[in-house]
Amino acid sequence: MDSSAWVALALSLKVAGWATALNLVLGVAAGYALARTRFIGRDVLDALLTLPMVLPPTVLGYYLLVVVGKRGWLGAWLHETFGIHLIFTWQGAVIAATIVAFPLVMKAARAAFEGVDPKLEQAARVLGLGEVAVFFRVTLPMAWHGILAGVLLAFARALGEFGATLMVAGSIPGQTQTLSIAVYEAVQAGQDDQANLLVLITSLTCIVVLLAAGRLSKVRGGLP
Protein backbone atom coordinates (compact mmCIF):
# COMPACT_ATOMS: atom_id res chain seq x y z
CA MET A 1 0.00 0.00 0.00
CA ASP A 2 1.24 3.46 -0.90
CA SER A 3 2.35 5.33 2.20
CA SER A 4 1.97 8.75 0.55
CA ALA A 5 -1.83 8.39 0.80
CA TRP A 6 -1.57 8.00 4.59
CA VAL A 7 0.81 10.95 4.79
CA ALA A 8 -1.81 13.00 2.91
CA LEU A 9 -4.53 11.81 5.31
CA ALA A 10 -2.46 12.72 8.38
CA LEU A 11 -1.72 16.14 6.91
CA SER A 12 -5.41 16.75 6.06
CA LEU A 13 -6.41 15.88 9.63
CA LYS A 14 -3.68 18.12 11.03
CA VAL A 15 -4.68 21.09 8.86
CA ALA A 16 -8.42 20.60 9.48
CA GLY A 17 -7.82 20.11 13.21
CA TRP A 18 -5.83 23.34 13.57
CA ALA A 19 -8.32 25.26 11.41
CA THR A 20 -11.20 23.99 13.57
CA ALA A 21 -9.40 24.85 16.82
CA LEU A 22 -8.69 28.37 15.58
CA ASN A 23 -12.28 28.78 14.43
CA LEU A 24 -13.59 27.57 17.76
CA VAL A 25 -11.98 30.65 19.31
CA LEU A 26 -12.38 33.16 16.47
CA GLY A 27 -15.81 32.04 15.28
CA VAL A 28 -17.33 31.89 18.76
CA ALA A 29 -15.88 35.29 19.66
CA ALA A 30 -17.17 36.87 16.45
CA GLY A 31 -20.55 35.17 16.78
CA TYR A 32 -20.89 36.41 20.37
CA ALA A 33 -19.88 39.94 19.46
CA LEU A 34 -22.39 40.06 16.61
CA ALA A 35 -25.18 38.58 18.73
CA ARG A 36 -24.70 40.75 21.82
CA THR A 37 -23.57 44.13 20.65
CA ARG A 38 -25.27 46.81 18.62
CA PHE A 39 -23.18 49.08 16.47
CA ILE A 40 -23.37 50.89 13.17
CA GLY A 41 -22.28 48.65 10.33
CA ARG A 42 -22.97 45.40 12.17
CA ASP A 43 -24.81 43.94 9.20
CA VAL A 44 -22.02 44.99 6.87
CA LEU A 45 -19.45 43.34 9.16
CA ASP A 46 -21.56 40.17 9.29
CA ALA A 47 -21.72 40.14 5.49
CA LEU A 48 -17.96 40.66 5.19
CA LEU A 49 -17.22 37.87 7.67
CA THR A 50 -19.63 35.55 5.81
CA LEU A 51 -17.98 36.29 2.48
CA PRO A 52 -15.52 33.35 2.59
CA MET A 53 -18.51 30.97 2.59
CA VAL A 54 -19.89 32.28 -0.69
CA LEU A 55 -16.79 33.51 -2.53
CA PRO A 56 -15.14 31.00 -4.86
CA PRO A 57 -12.10 29.48 -3.10
CA THR A 58 -9.90 30.64 -5.96
CA VAL A 59 -10.84 34.25 -5.19
CA LEU A 60 -9.87 33.69 -1.55
CA GLY A 61 -6.68 32.00 -2.65
CA TYR A 62 -5.81 34.98 -4.79
CA TYR A 63 -6.55 37.44 -1.95
CA LEU A 64 -4.34 35.38 0.35
CA LEU A 65 -1.52 35.24 -2.19
CA VAL A 66 -1.69 39.00 -2.57
CA VAL A 67 -1.83 39.66 1.17
CA VAL A 68 0.44 37.03 2.76
CA GLY A 69 2.69 36.37 -0.25
CA LYS A 70 6.31 37.45 -0.02
CA ARG A 71 5.39 40.66 -1.84
CA GLY A 72 2.05 41.16 -0.09
CA TRP A 73 1.84 43.89 2.56
CA LEU A 74 1.32 41.46 5.43
CA GLY A 75 3.57 38.77 4.00
CA ALA A 76 6.45 41.21 3.43
CA TRP A 77 6.12 42.47 7.01
CA LEU A 78 6.04 38.93 8.46
CA HIS A 79 9.03 37.97 6.38
CA GLU A 80 11.12 41.01 7.36
CA THR A 81 10.12 41.06 11.02
CA PHE A 82 9.94 37.38 11.92
CA GLY A 83 11.38 35.60 8.91
CA ILE A 84 8.03 33.84 8.49
CA HIS A 85 7.07 32.73 5.01
CA LEU A 86 3.54 31.32 4.86
CA ILE A 87 3.27 30.40 1.18
CA PHE A 88 4.08 26.70 0.57
CA THR A 89 3.85 25.77 4.24
CA TRP A 90 1.26 23.72 6.12
CA GLN A 91 0.61 26.79 8.27
CA GLY A 92 -0.42 28.55 5.06
CA ALA A 93 -2.84 25.69 4.38
CA VAL A 94 -4.22 26.13 7.92
CA ILE A 95 -4.85 29.83 7.27
CA ALA A 96 -6.67 29.06 4.02
CA ALA A 97 -8.80 26.34 5.64
CA THR A 98 -9.52 28.53 8.68
CA ILE A 99 -10.79 31.43 6.60
CA VAL A 100 -12.90 29.20 4.37
CA ALA A 101 -14.56 27.43 7.32
CA PHE A 102 -14.82 30.47 9.62
CA PRO A 103 -18.34 31.62 8.63
CA LEU A 104 -19.80 28.21 9.43
CA VAL A 105 -18.76 28.55 13.09
CA MET A 106 -19.53 32.25 13.30
CA LYS A 107 -23.04 31.91 11.85
CA ALA A 108 -23.89 28.94 14.06
CA ALA A 109 -22.48 30.67 17.14
CA ARG A 110 -24.35 33.90 16.46
CA ALA A 111 -27.66 32.08 16.04
CA ALA A 112 -26.99 29.98 19.15
CA PHE A 113 -26.11 33.00 21.30
CA GLU A 114 -29.17 34.89 20.08
CA GLY A 115 -31.24 31.91 21.19
CA VAL A 116 -30.03 32.15 24.78
CA ASP A 117 -32.62 33.87 26.99
CA PRO A 118 -31.03 37.06 28.44
CA LYS A 119 -33.16 36.64 31.56
CA LEU A 120 -31.12 33.59 32.56
CA GLU A 121 -27.89 35.59 32.26
CA GLN A 122 -29.54 38.40 34.22
CA ALA A 123 -30.48 35.93 36.95
CA ALA A 124 -26.89 34.68 37.12
CA ARG A 125 -25.65 38.25 37.52
CA VAL A 126 -28.17 38.91 40.26
CA LEU A 127 -26.91 35.79 42.00
CA GLY A 128 -23.43 37.32 42.01
CA LEU A 129 -21.57 35.91 38.99
CA GLY A 130 -19.13 38.13 37.12
CA GLU A 131 -19.42 38.73 33.36
CA VAL A 132 -16.73 36.14 32.50
CA ALA A 133 -18.33 33.55 34.74
CA VAL A 134 -21.76 34.29 33.24
CA PHE A 135 -20.35 33.63 29.77
CA PHE A 136 -18.58 30.37 30.59
CA ARG A 137 -21.12 28.96 33.07
CA VAL A 138 -24.42 30.09 31.58
CA THR A 139 -24.27 31.49 28.03
CA LEU A 140 -21.71 29.15 26.46
CA PRO A 141 -23.17 25.90 27.87
CA MET A 142 -26.64 26.90 26.65
CA ALA A 143 -25.39 27.83 23.17
CA TRP A 144 -23.04 24.85 22.91
CA HIS A 145 -25.27 22.53 20.84
CA GLY A 146 -25.65 25.08 18.11
CA ILE A 147 -21.95 25.94 18.13
CA LEU A 148 -20.95 22.28 18.00
CA ALA A 149 -23.04 21.77 14.87
CA GLY A 150 -21.18 24.63 13.22
CA VAL A 151 -17.82 23.34 14.41
CA LEU A 152 -18.38 19.89 12.91
CA LEU A 153 -19.44 21.43 9.61
CA ALA A 154 -16.36 23.63 9.73
CA PHE A 155 -14.12 20.60 10.31
CA ALA A 156 -15.65 18.84 7.31
CA ARG A 157 -15.31 21.97 5.18
CA ALA A 158 -11.66 22.41 6.23
CA LEU A 159 -10.95 18.75 5.50
CA GLY A 160 -12.27 19.16 1.96
CA GLU A 161 -10.69 22.56 1.25
CA PHE A 162 -9.02 22.54 -2.13
CA GLY A 163 -8.92 25.71 -4.22
CA ALA A 164 -7.53 28.28 -1.80
CA THR A 165 -5.17 25.71 -0.26
CA LEU A 166 -3.71 24.76 -3.63
CA MET A 167 -3.10 28.40 -4.50
CA VAL A 168 -1.55 29.35 -1.17
CA ALA A 169 0.22 26.21 0.01
CA GLY A 170 0.95 24.54 -3.32
CA SER A 171 1.33 20.81 -3.52
CA ILE A 172 4.39 19.55 -1.68
CA PRO A 173 4.13 15.87 -0.76
CA GLY A 174 4.29 15.40 3.01
CA GLN A 175 4.16 19.14 3.67
CA THR A 176 1.17 20.70 1.98
CA GLN A 177 -0.30 17.97 -0.20
CA THR A 178 -3.62 17.29 1.50
CA LEU A 179 -6.00 14.47 0.52
CA SER A 180 -8.13 16.59 -1.80
CA ILE A 181 -5.05 17.94 -3.59
CA ALA A 182 -3.51 14.47 -3.84
CA VAL A 183 -6.74 13.20 -5.46
CA TYR A 184 -6.70 16.03 -7.98
CA GLU A 185 -3.05 15.43 -8.87
CA ALA A 186 -3.48 11.67 -9.20
CA VAL A 187 -6.42 12.14 -11.58
CA GLN A 188 -4.57 14.82 -13.55
CA ALA A 189 -1.59 12.53 -13.98
CA GLY A 190 -3.82 9.63 -15.03
CA GLN A 191 -2.80 7.56 -11.96
CA ASP A 192 -6.17 5.91 -11.42
CA ASP A 193 -4.90 3.35 -8.87
CA GLN A 194 -3.63 6.10 -6.61
CA ALA A 195 -6.82 8.12 -7.14
CA ASN A 196 -8.98 5.10 -6.22
CA LEU A 197 -7.08 4.58 -2.97
CA LEU A 198 -7.23 8.26 -2.09
CA VAL A 199 -10.96 8.69 -2.71
CA LEU A 200 -11.62 5.55 -0.67
CA ILE A 201 -9.64 6.96 2.27
CA THR A 202 -11.36 10.34 1.90
CA SER A 203 -14.83 8.78 1.81
CA LEU A 204 -14.12 6.58 4.84
CA THR A 205 -12.74 9.54 6.78
CA CYS A 206 -15.86 11.58 6.05
CA ILE A 207 -18.10 8.71 7.14
CA VAL A 208 -16.18 8.48 10.42
CA VAL A 209 -16.56 12.24 10.94
CA LEU A 210 -20.32 12.03 10.28
CA LEU A 211 -20.72 9.07 12.65
CA ALA A 212 -18.76 10.92 15.32
CA ALA A 213 -20.97 13.96 14.77
CA GLY A 214 -24.09 11.83 15.19
CA ARG A 215 -22.70 10.24 18.34
CA LEU A 216 -21.78 13.63 19.83
CA SER A 217 -25.20 15.06 19.10
CA LYS A 218 -26.88 12.05 20.77
CA VAL A 219 -24.78 12.46 23.90
CA ARG A 220 -25.67 16.14 23.97
CA GLY A 221 -29.33 15.59 23.26
CA GLY A 222 -29.53 16.37 19.57
CA LEU A 223 -28.26 19.11 17.30
CA PRO A 224 -30.64 21.99 16.78
Binding site: K70, F88, I172, P173, Y184, E185, V187, G190
Partner: protein, 258 residues
Protein backbone atom coordinates in the same frame (compact mmCIF):
# COMPACT_ATOMS: atom_id res chain seq x y z
CA UNK B 1 -44.79 55.68 -63.41
CA UNK B 2 -44.21 52.08 -64.27
CA UNK B 3 -41.89 49.97 -62.15
CA UNK B 4 -41.01 46.42 -62.87
CA UNK B 5 -42.65 44.30 -60.18
CA UNK B 6 -41.18 40.92 -59.58
CA UNK B 7 -43.69 38.13 -59.87
CA UNK B 8 -44.79 36.30 -56.76
CA UNK B 9 -43.18 33.16 -58.06
CA UNK B 10 -39.81 34.79 -58.52
CA UNK B 11 -40.10 36.29 -55.07
CA UNK B 12 -40.77 32.94 -53.51
CA UNK B 13 -37.88 31.42 -55.42
CA UNK B 14 -35.57 34.09 -54.03
CA UNK B 15 -36.78 33.54 -50.48
CA UNK B 16 -36.28 29.82 -50.94
CA UNK B 17 -32.77 30.34 -52.26
CA UNK B 18 -31.88 32.61 -49.34
CA UNK B 19 -33.27 30.13 -46.83
CA UNK B 20 -31.34 27.33 -48.47
CA UNK B 21 -28.10 29.29 -48.37
CA UNK B 22 -28.83 30.24 -44.77
CA UNK B 23 -29.25 26.63 -43.72
CA UNK B 24 -26.10 25.67 -45.60
CA UNK B 25 -24.09 28.39 -43.86
CA UNK B 26 -25.61 27.42 -40.51
CA UNK B 27 -24.45 23.86 -41.05
CA UNK B 28 -20.92 25.16 -41.65
CA UNK B 29 -21.13 27.49 -38.64
CA UNK B 30 -22.06 24.62 -36.37
CA UNK B 31 -18.41 23.51 -36.27
CA UNK B 32 -17.39 24.44 -32.75
CA UNK B 33 -13.95 23.03 -32.34
CA UNK B 34 -12.54 22.00 -28.95
CA UNK B 35 -8.76 22.11 -28.79
CA UNK B 36 -6.96 20.65 -25.77
CA UNK B 37 -3.52 22.23 -25.67
CA UNK B 38 -0.52 22.12 -23.33
CA UNK B 39 -0.43 25.00 -20.83
CA UNK B 40 2.77 26.38 -22.37
CA UNK B 41 0.81 27.02 -25.59
CA UNK B 42 -1.73 29.25 -23.83
CA UNK B 43 -0.58 32.64 -25.13
CA UNK B 44 0.27 31.51 -28.66
CA UNK B 45 -2.89 29.44 -29.20
CA UNK B 46 -5.14 32.21 -27.91
CA UNK B 47 -3.83 34.22 -30.87
CA UNK B 48 -4.01 31.27 -33.27
CA UNK B 49 -7.70 30.71 -32.48
CA UNK B 50 -9.09 33.98 -33.88
CA UNK B 51 -6.68 33.75 -36.84
CA UNK B 52 -8.11 30.32 -37.68
CA UNK B 53 -11.67 31.59 -37.24
CA UNK B 54 -10.95 34.50 -39.59
CA UNK B 55 -9.60 32.13 -42.23
CA UNK B 56 -12.43 29.62 -41.85
CA UNK B 57 -15.62 31.65 -41.36
CA UNK B 58 -18.26 29.84 -39.40
CA UNK B 59 -15.78 27.89 -37.29
CA UNK B 60 -15.32 28.73 -33.64
CA UNK B 61 -12.46 27.40 -31.54
CA UNK B 62 -12.64 26.70 -27.83
CA UNK B 63 -9.46 26.00 -25.90
CA UNK B 64 -8.85 23.77 -22.93
CA UNK B 65 -5.38 24.47 -21.49
CA UNK B 66 -3.78 22.20 -18.88
CA UNK B 67 -0.77 19.98 -18.35
CA UNK B 68 -0.40 17.50 -21.22
CA UNK B 69 -0.97 14.44 -19.02
CA UNK B 70 -4.16 15.93 -17.60
CA UNK B 71 -5.43 16.55 -21.13
CA UNK B 72 -4.60 12.97 -22.10
CA UNK B 73 -6.44 11.66 -19.02
CA UNK B 74 -9.52 13.68 -20.04
CA UNK B 75 -9.42 12.45 -23.64
CA UNK B 76 -8.91 8.83 -22.53
CA UNK B 77 -12.04 9.19 -20.35
CA UNK B 78 -14.06 10.29 -23.39
CA UNK B 79 -13.97 14.10 -23.21
CA UNK B 80 -15.41 15.56 -26.47
CA UNK B 81 -12.10 16.93 -27.78
CA UNK B 82 -11.30 17.49 -31.48
CA UNK B 83 -7.61 18.39 -31.40
CA UNK B 84 -4.85 17.51 -28.94
CA UNK B 85 -1.56 19.43 -28.75
CA UNK B 86 0.97 18.08 -26.26
CA UNK B 87 4.26 19.50 -24.96
CA UNK B 88 6.13 16.23 -25.38
CA UNK B 89 6.24 13.19 -27.63
CA UNK B 90 5.75 10.69 -24.75
CA UNK B 91 2.23 11.89 -23.95
CA UNK B 92 1.23 11.87 -27.63
CA UNK B 93 2.77 8.38 -27.97
CA UNK B 94 0.54 7.20 -25.13
CA UNK B 95 -2.50 8.74 -26.84
CA UNK B 96 -1.56 7.02 -30.08
CA UNK B 97 -0.99 3.67 -28.34
CA UNK B 98 -4.47 3.93 -26.81
CA UNK B 99 -5.99 4.51 -30.25
CA UNK B 100 -7.16 8.02 -29.38
CA UNK B 101 -5.81 9.78 -32.49
CA UNK B 102 -7.02 9.97 -36.09
CA UNK B 103 -4.39 8.02 -38.04
CA UNK B 104 -2.13 10.18 -40.20
CA UNK B 105 -3.00 13.54 -38.61
CA UNK B 106 -0.12 13.67 -36.12
CA UNK B 107 2.39 16.42 -36.90
CA UNK B 108 5.22 18.10 -35.01
CA UNK B 109 4.53 21.82 -35.08
CA UNK B 110 6.97 23.57 -32.72
CA UNK B 111 10.11 23.23 -30.65
CA UNK B 112 10.99 24.85 -27.37
CA UNK B 113 13.82 25.03 -24.84
CA UNK B 114 13.86 24.57 -21.08
CA UNK B 115 15.23 27.47 -19.05
CA UNK B 116 16.04 28.11 -15.40
CA UNK B 117 14.47 31.35 -14.21
CA UNK B 118 14.42 33.47 -11.06
CA UNK B 119 12.40 36.50 -9.98
CA UNK B 120 13.57 39.65 -11.83
CA UNK B 121 14.63 41.34 -8.59
CA UNK B 122 16.18 38.27 -6.99
CA UNK B 123 19.67 38.71 -5.49
CA UNK B 124 20.43 34.99 -5.97
CA UNK B 125 22.82 34.47 -8.90
CA UNK B 126 22.18 31.24 -10.80
CA UNK B 127 25.07 30.30 -13.07
CA UNK B 128 24.88 26.50 -13.16
CA UNK B 129 22.43 23.82 -12.09
CA UNK B 130 24.77 23.17 -9.16
CA UNK B 131 23.82 26.59 -7.73
CA UNK B 132 20.36 25.17 -6.98
CA UNK B 133 21.92 23.13 -4.17
CA UNK B 134 23.11 26.31 -2.42
CA UNK B 135 21.25 27.39 0.73
CA UNK B 136 20.14 30.74 -0.80
CA UNK B 137 17.81 28.72 -3.01
CA UNK B 138 15.12 27.71 -0.54
CA UNK B 139 12.39 26.71 -2.98
CA UNK B 140 12.47 25.50 -6.55
CA UNK B 141 9.31 25.45 -8.67
CA UNK B 142 8.83 22.81 -11.33
CA UNK B 143 5.90 20.97 -12.86
CA UNK B 144 5.01 17.74 -11.09
CA UNK B 145 7.07 15.19 -13.07
CA UNK B 146 4.26 12.58 -13.01
CA UNK B 147 1.86 14.88 -14.82
CA UNK B 148 3.67 17.81 -16.40
CA UNK B 149 6.14 17.42 -19.30
CA UNK B 150 8.13 20.53 -18.26
CA UNK B 151 8.59 18.92 -14.85
CA UNK B 152 9.81 15.68 -16.46
CA UNK B 153 12.34 17.56 -18.60
CA UNK B 154 13.54 19.45 -15.49
CA UNK B 155 13.81 16.37 -13.31
CA UNK B 156 15.64 14.58 -16.14
CA UNK B 157 18.16 17.42 -16.42
CA UNK B 158 18.73 17.44 -12.64
CA UNK B 159 19.14 13.67 -12.57
CA UNK B 160 21.61 13.82 -15.44
CA UNK B 161 23.61 16.36 -13.41
CA UNK B 162 23.33 14.06 -10.33
CA UNK B 163 21.66 16.92 -8.46
CA UNK B 164 18.15 15.53 -7.98
CA UNK B 165 18.77 14.08 -4.46
CA UNK B 166 20.25 17.42 -3.34
CA UNK B 167 17.38 19.60 -4.59
CA UNK B 168 14.36 17.29 -4.32
CA UNK B 169 13.49 18.57 -0.84
CA UNK B 170 13.30 22.14 -2.18
CA UNK B 171 10.87 21.25 -4.96
CA UNK B 172 7.45 22.90 -5.10
CA UNK B 173 5.39 21.02 -7.65
CA UNK B 174 3.12 22.96 -9.97
CA UNK B 175 0.06 21.48 -11.71
CA UNK B 176 1.26 22.94 -15.00
CA UNK B 177 4.22 24.91 -16.28
CA UNK B 178 2.37 28.23 -16.11
CA UNK B 179 1.82 27.78 -12.38
CA UNK B 180 5.57 27.25 -11.91
CA UNK B 181 6.07 30.49 -13.87
CA UNK B 182 3.58 32.27 -11.61
CA UNK B 183 5.35 31.11 -8.44
CA UNK B 184 8.60 32.63 -9.72
CA UNK B 185 6.92 35.81 -11.00
CA UNK B 186 5.40 36.40 -7.54
CA UNK B 187 8.79 35.91 -5.89
CA UNK B 188 7.56 32.98 -3.80
CA UNK B 189 10.42 30.76 -4.99
CA UNK B 190 14.04 31.59 -5.78
CA UNK B 191 14.16 29.53 -8.98
CA UNK B 192 11.98 27.59 -11.37
CA UNK B 193 12.05 25.52 -14.54
CA UNK B 194 9.85 26.71 -17.41
CA UNK B 195 10.04 26.89 -21.18
CA UNK B 196 11.78 29.80 -22.86
CA UNK B 197 8.41 30.89 -24.28
CA UNK B 198 6.85 31.01 -20.78
CA UNK B 199 9.70 33.15 -19.47
CA UNK B 200 9.21 35.52 -22.42
CA UNK B 201 5.50 35.86 -21.55
CA UNK B 202 6.45 37.38 -18.13
CA UNK B 203 9.75 38.98 -19.01
CA UNK B 204 9.21 42.00 -16.76
CA UNK B 205 8.86 39.78 -13.69
CA UNK B 206 11.28 36.90 -14.27
CA UNK B 207 14.83 36.70 -15.57
CA UNK B 208 16.30 33.78 -17.46
CA UNK B 209 19.46 32.43 -15.82
CA UNK B 210 20.42 30.00 -18.58
CA UNK B 211 19.09 27.43 -21.02
CA UNK B 212 18.96 23.93 -19.57
CA UNK B 213 20.07 21.12 -21.88
CA UNK B 214 17.54 18.28 -22.11
CA UNK B 215 18.17 14.65 -23.04
CA UNK B 216 15.52 14.75 -25.78
CA UNK B 217 14.60 17.84 -27.79
CA UNK B 218 11.41 19.55 -26.60
CA UNK B 219 9.11 19.01 -29.53
CA UNK B 220 5.34 19.64 -29.63
CA UNK B 221 3.09 17.25 -31.55
CA UNK B 222 -0.52 17.95 -32.56
CA UNK B 223 -3.17 15.52 -33.86
CA UNK B 224 -6.90 15.21 -34.48
CA UNK B 225 -8.64 13.14 -31.81
CA UNK B 226 -10.50 10.02 -32.95
CA UNK B 227 -14.25 10.24 -32.41
CA UNK B 228 -14.12 14.02 -31.96
CA UNK B 229 -17.39 15.75 -32.91
CA UNK B 230 -15.84 17.83 -35.74
CA UNK B 231 -13.40 15.60 -37.62
CA UNK B 232 -13.13 17.78 -40.75
CA UNK B 233 -12.64 21.05 -38.83
CA UNK B 234 -10.08 19.30 -36.61
CA UNK B 235 -8.06 18.37 -39.68
CA UNK B 236 -8.25 21.96 -40.90
CA UNK B 237 -7.02 23.26 -37.55
CA UNK B 238 -4.01 20.92 -37.55
CA UNK B 239 -3.22 22.04 -41.12
CA UNK B 240 -3.52 25.67 -40.07
CA UNK B 241 -1.10 25.26 -37.15
CA UNK B 242 1.60 23.81 -39.41
CA UNK B 243 0.85 26.30 -42.24
CA UNK B 244 3.08 29.40 -42.72
CA UNK B 245 0.37 31.59 -41.13
CA UNK B 246 0.18 29.39 -38.04
CA UNK B 247 3.95 29.07 -37.81
CA UNK B 248 4.30 32.87 -37.98
CA UNK B 249 2.10 33.25 -34.88
CA UNK B 250 4.08 30.57 -33.02
CA UNK B 251 7.39 32.17 -34.02
CA UNK B 252 6.13 35.51 -32.72
CA UNK B 253 5.66 33.89 -29.30
CA UNK B 254 9.18 32.45 -29.33
CA UNK B 255 8.53 28.90 -30.51
CA UNK B 256 11.06 27.40 -32.90
CA UNK B 257 10.18 25.60 -36.10
CA UNK B 258 9.93 21.82 -35.71
Amino acid sequence: MHTRRPSLRRCLARVGLCAGLGIASLAAAAAELTVSAAASLTTAFKELGPAFEARHPGHTVRFNFAASDALLAQIAKGAPVDVFASADQDTMDKAQAQGLLVAGTRRNFANNTLVLIGPADSPVALKTLGDLARPEVKRLALGKPEGVPAGRYAKGALEAARLWPAVEAKAVYAINVRQALDYVARGEVEAGFVYATDAAAQKDKVKVAFTVPTATPISYPIAAVAGGPNAEAARKFVEFVVSPAGQAVLAKHGFQRP
